[in-house]
């Protein structure tokens, strides 16, 4: 594996980062859900179109992407130093910093803090309100707290829909993207004790219902838990960027605010936000500007929470950082542009990916966090046709397609070293044979001579069914019958003499170069005539 020791021990990520079943299997199941596909296609097409329009407005979009990628690479290169700087600044501003190696540690820290600051209610339970956050979903915080008599109420509208529907989010920005408004109405009627039975399906009405439901919670709950989009190392500032204002309520009204933030979310200075506040809203919701951007720096007497905590979460991030190619995945700002443009995500939805991170970024980030040897995640890197739409859309230029093939290779290397003697799959055998054939033009020529035989055996219209792995292919596509003669053999028949001449020349040239190399002589120019000076040219002409 291409990991380097970076001076820190690396711990694999835990929590909601695992596939439940191999991707193709879940995908097949999800493909059968017509409602899901209709909802997804509608939603992703709409966001995609909006994003494309907003991005097209900026003449310097490509420069912004380069700046975003470069800024994040600086952060990753200086991470240990920036983290300690952040810790010092955050502490100086009156906050408390906690460090969590993995999901379990982070959950336990949050639970301890909640137990210290939230009162027990009549049912003997405690309550917290939450700002939508990927990090807390990654560590499975809500489920953990529930098991410890703490009820966590999601305040983001989409997150609330997921929670009330006892469902799982399927998109990192629009967690209920798989639901339409009729389904949402049903979920509200069933899950909100205070919902009006005459509730309609207009988005405005649904939003109003959730607003009424949440308002009471905001005013009475003492503890809030958030994630963070950015942390500023220089000042110890945290920030949440959102569209509804519910996050703003959560980070200002309660007495205690606990933020769980992945360690890669740092930026060196406030100035670095300039680039990201342009990249993020355009990439995620297709908006020019973000409706609510909240920033807080420690405790301000008489204003906002009195106890401010941050849990700095590793959970596999140093593991990803140690991978010299994989570390680019840590540039991710969770904008979700890659999943909105992904043709695979559009058809399978987010649940097929198992992990809380679905879509193209999920297919690389998840195995990078958990380790490529995690069997559960071994099918994720194959969940892509490598069409490249994700790379094009990514505001921080993560080369997702290249990372996918690297992870496929890593997975194979791990598998081969573990089960070296196990029988190989049909695909493995076919590829081994093909490698031998395709690394030599002469072998290719011989193979192609056999093709007319295949032609004799195949029907005129094409091949409709084949055994084995090719069977899945021919179940929906017809394969053409091979031609009478390959191009190569046509060419050599046409150019026999020329070809011989060319081979001779090539051989002579190679020999000459070897001779030069041995004799240590100055190598002659590779090809083409040596440049002549004007003078020589004239002399020759005259």
């Amino acid at each position: 594996m291409s990991t380097t020791f970076i001076g820190m021990p690396t711990v694999p990520g835990t929590g909601n980062l695992f596939e439940r079943a191999p991707f193709p299997q879940v995908a097949q199941h999800e493909l059968g859900n017509v409602q899901l596909r209709t909802n997804l296609t509608k939603a992703t097409t709409a966001i995609r179109t909006k994003r494309a329009a907003r991005v097209a407005e900026l003449g310097d979009w490509e420069d912004l992407r380069d700046s975003g990628a470069a800024a994040k690479d600086v952060v990753l290169a200086r991470l240990p130093e920036l983290l300690t700087q952040f810790e010092a600044a955050f502490t100086a501003a009156g906050g408390t910093v906690h460090w969590a190696r993995d999901a379990q540690e982070a959950n336990a820290i949050v639970r301890g803090l909640v137990e210290d600051s939230a009162p027990l209610n009549e049912d003997g339970r405690r309550e917290v309100i939450k700002v939508k956050s990927m990090a807390t979903q990654e560590i499975g915080l809500n489920e953990y707290l529930e098991d410890h008599d703490i009820d966590a109420y999601e305040t983001d509208l989409a997150e609330l829909i997921v929670q009330l529907g006892h469902d799982k989010p399927s998109h990192i920005l629009v967690p209920a993207i798989h639901r339409n408004r009729h389904e949402i109405r049903q979920i509200f009627l069933r899950g909100m004790e205070d919902a009006d039975p005459n509730l309609g399906t207009e988005p405005r009405e649904l939003a109003e219902a959730s607003r009424k439901h949440l308002r009471k919670k905001f005013l009475t709950t003492k503890v809030a838990i958030s994630g963070a989009n950015f942390g500023i190392a220089e000042t110890g500032t945290l920030s949440v960027v959102e569209s509804e204002g519910n996050g703003r309520m959560c980070v200002t009204l309660p007495e205690t605010l606990i933020t769980v933030m992945g360690i890669e979310k740092l930026l060196p200075t406030i100035d670095d936000l300039g680039v990201f506040m342009q990249l993020l809203p355009r990439s995620s919701t297709g908006e020019r500007m973000n409706p609510y951007s909240s920033f807080w720096t420690g405790v301000t007497p008489g204003d906002g929470p009195r106890n401010v905590h941050v849990v700095l979460l590793d959970n596999g991030r140093t593991r990803a950082l140690a991978d010299q190619h994989g570390r680019q995945a840590l540039r991710c700002i969770r904008c979700s542009a890659c999943m909105n443009v992904c043709p695979v995500y559009e058809r399978t939805g987010g649940h097929a990916y198992g992990s809380v991170y679905p879509g193209p970024i999920g297919a690389i980030l998840t195995p990078l966090l958990t380790g490529t040897d995690a069997e559960e995640n071994s099918t994720l890197p194959y969940a892509s046709s490598l069409c490249g739409a994700c790379f094009d859309a990514c505001p921080v230029k993560i080369d997702i397609p290249q990372m996918l093939v690297r992870l496929r290779n890593e997975g194979n290397v791990v598998k081969e070293s573990e089960h070296g003697r196990l029988p190989k799959t049909q695909l493995d055998v076919a590829l081994t044979g093909a490698s031998w054939l395709m690394s030599d033009g002469r072998r290719m020529a011989l193979m192609e001579k056999g093709l007319p035989l295949a032609k004799l055996l195949s029907p005129k219209a094409g091949i409709r069914s084949l055994p084995g792995i090719a069977g899945a292919w021919t179940s929906s596509r017809t394969i053409p019958r091979p031609p009478r003669q390959s191009f190569r053999s046509w060419w050599s028949a046409e150019h026999r003499e020329e070809a011989r001449e060319e081979r001779r020349e090539a051989r002579d040239r190679a020999q000459f170069r070897r001779f030069e190399a041995r004799s240590g002589a100055e190598p002659a120019p590779e090809a083409g005539p040596a440049p002549r000076s004007e003078n020589q040219h004239e002399t020759k002409e005259s």
Partner: protein, 272 residues
């Protein structure tokens, strides 16, 4: 100019007419075409299947086949294979610790052009009818393949060339820039998702009412053609769907040697 043809394995073995068409176009423009015979394949099949060690000899063979050949430019009728040379060959060489091969691969990649790139950017072809005598009186639904579009940034080069073919009308299917779902290994490892993508592509192409679907990659065209043909087999009562044909063959077609849309010549939904 001397132009070395990189036929690509799929064209060489399955669609020889595409390579012949490429030769014909270049010779019509007065250039000499050579075919370095050691060439075999770009290695994408292995690279994208995550078999880097097995891809290495394939990559090495390609670099050696072309660096020894004497040419001004190399050309391939495939955006995907040309993209692989630049985007993947150095990666494979570096992965195997062969820095020397990595830099030689970069050099070979730098001299290799996708066909529409070479025609437009180097050979100055702006009017296929006038400069090549191209003639193809049909409606063409153009499918831009992903790697040409996103890795090589071919933009409108292929469709612009097709537009200038005498008699040709170029149309865009709905969601024209969506992947057809081939992805090599992807269609084997995730056949159902791949089929779902293909089905949408096939519908969009049929809805254009075009007589052919053209593009720049034989692999995608084989995949799409296979889907179009299968649909026809399942729904024989409906109008014959378009057959796929590489844009090199459309450009090579002339009044004297027209490209005939004959059902006899269609196999697996693709024109032979």
């Amino acid at each position: 100019m001397r132009i070395a043809l990189f036929a690509t394995c799929i064209v060489d073995a399955m669609y020889p007419e595409v390579a012949k068409a490429t030769v014909s176009i270049l010779e019509r423009l007065g250039h000499t075409v050579t075919f370095p015979e050691r060439q075999a394949c770009c290695g994408q099949m292995h690279i994208n299947s995550g078999k880097f060690a097995q891809a290495y000899p394939v990559v090495k063979n390609h670099v050696e086949a072309f660096e020894d050949a004497d040419f001004d430019y190399a050309v391939a009728p495939s955006g995907s294979c040309v993209a692989s040379l630049g985007h993947q060959h150095p990666m494979i060489a570096e992965y195997m610790g062969d820095e020397d091969l990595a830099s030689r691969a970069t050099q070979v990649a730098g001299r290799t052009y996708e066909l529409s790139q070479l025609l437009t950017d180097v050979l100055g072809v702006t009017d296929a009818a006038a400069q090549l005598g191209s003639y193809f009186p049909h409606t063409i639904a153009y499918h831009p393949s992903c790697h040409g579009m996103r890795l090589l940034r071919l933009g409108d080069r292929q469709s612009d060339l097709l537009q200038t073919v005498e008699g040709a009308v170029v149309v865009s299917p709905e969601n024209w820039d969506a992947c057809c779902g081939f992805g090599g290994t992807f269609s084997v490892k995730n056949p159902q998702v791949s089929t779902a993508m293909l089905t949408d592509k096939v519908e969009a192409l049929i809805n254009t009412g075009a007589s052919v679907c053209s593009g720049g990659d034989a692999s995608c065209l084989m995949h799409i053609g296979g889907g179009l043909q299968r649909r026809h087999e399942l729904l024989p009562a409906q109008a014959t769907p378009p057959a796929t044909v590489h844009f090199a063959r459309v450009l090579a077609a002339t009044r004297e040697h027209p490209l005939i849309l004959n059902e006899e010549l269609v196999s697996g939904g693709a024109l032979r």
